[in-house]
Amino acid sequence: MIDKFVRSMAEAMNGIRDGSTVLMAGFGEVGSPHALLDGLIEQGATNLTVVINSTGRVRNPSQPAQGLPRLVELGRVRKVITSFVRNHSVVGDAVRDGVLEAEVVPQGTLAERIRAAGAGVPAFFTPTGAGTLVAEGKEVRDYDGRACILERALPGDVALVEAWMADRWGNLVFRDASRNFNPIMAMAGKLTIVQTHHVCDLGQLPANEIVTPGIFVDRVLHVAAGDPTLPR
């Protein structure tokens, strides 16, 4: 019987290696796999490359860092690939201090590169970023009279995903705006690990409503995580 549910965080995190590229879903705290990020912090893998839309808020001394900023504080991250780095954030300061590399890319290019990795497209052209700093060092070619740059797929060794409901085949649905990067990161992860709010029997999720089919999912952990909070 196929059963992708794991029974513990240790089992969920098992085998994540130093040097891995980790895709972290979520947008504005919604759809972020917070429990799995805590689990990764606990698990210990280091020298990571992290792919994440946004790298965190301006430092707030009254709020201890969590998630990616905490991993960065712990010196466990070598590089981030993201669309957003703020000055005076944990990540921004680490970049300024030269202890963290940041590749900052347009958000749509980030999403398309992740999707390309999941879909077996090694590289594609896009007009986004042409004629800007983003184009530096990239191949440029005209299509339909428009300068386009060549972008590479962005696969992950690991993808950390949050779902609303899941079944034992790993079929997933998402709640409202929590969908965001989750389906495409699930596609692009060699090892896709999911935390789900709810567990369904097989067949309970209607076939026409499944957003991420289980083929893209390796492990599912049931975490009743509660509602997302607004960013601090």
Binding site: F27, G28, E29, V30, N53, S54, S83, F84, V85, R86, N87, H88, S89, G92, V95, R96, A102, V104, V105, P106, Q107, G108, T109, A111, E112, I114, R115, T126, P127, T128, G129, A130, G131, T132, L133, V134, F174, R175, D176, A177, S178, R179, N180, F181, N182, P183, I184, V211, D227, P228, T229, L230, P231
Partner: protein, 217 residues
């Protein structure tokens, strides 16, 4: 500037831009002033607002007791969803943007040049903070790109330029600018064409606050 002149405030700029959005358009509103535009489109005029995080049909901010923590816009503000609204994942959301399906995006700006170049994400290539977000995708992908911004910087330097000095968001993308003083179309081969000025300000006074040469409509 003439005495008693009333430059538009943030809400005034948003309201002025809202007037020009036709029914049926698909529109993405950037962070800041553009976000305010949605409140000024008349309720009976159906405009479909897109948010980068995979939402089509963004509605107004809900009352406190109706907030849905799972529903935020690209500025991470809690929002509502209109009947007919839908959710997609991030690649599909940007397929809408990059595939040319949005009629319009309205972005904030630091600088706009007469060839339509836009700078709105960084004041220096050397800066560590890089807040690109979805702006480059929107600037390239939307059919119309409008910019809302103050006509000059706080210390009076022009933002309506011959050439941008800040890192570009995208070359040649802007089609119209709404400032606190005027509305300017960006016309290929001609540059800035002034289509509206606030009462009491002359064309020459507007020109004096702009680096680029302005043209009369």
């Amino acid at each position: 500037m003439s005495e008693g002149l009333k430059p538009l405030g943030r809400v005034g700029m948003a309201a002025r831009a809202a007037r020009d959005i036709p029914e049926g358009w698909y529109v993405n509103l950037g962070i800041g002033i553009p976000t305010l535009i949605a409140d000024h489109v008349p309720a009976e005029r159906e405009v479909v607002f897109h948010s980068e995080n995979g939402i089509l049909g963004v509605g107004p901010a809900p009352e406190a007791h109706k907030q849905n923590p799972w529903l935020v816009n690209a500025s991470t503000q809690r929002i509502s969803l209109r009947p007919g609204g839908s959710f997609v994942h991030h690649a599909d959301s940007f397929a809408m943007v990059r595939g040319g399906h949005l009629d319009l995006c309205v972005l904030g700006g630091f600088q706009v040049a007469e060839n339509g170049d836009l700078a709105n994400w960084s004041q220096s290539a050397a800066e560590v903070g890089r807040q690109i977000g979805g702006a480059m995708d929107l600037a390239v992908g939307a059919r119309q790109v409008w910019v809302t911004m103050e006509h000059t910087t706080k210390d009076g330097r022009p933002r309506i330029l011959r050439q941008c000095s800040y890192p570009l968001t995208a070359p040649g993308c802007v089609t119209r600018v709404y400032t606190n003083l005027a509305v300017l179309d960006v016309v290929g081969g001609r540059g800035f064409v002034v289509t509206d000025i606030i009462p009491g300000l002359s064309f020459e006074e507007l020109q004096a606050r702009s680096e680029a040469v302005l043209h009369r409509a």
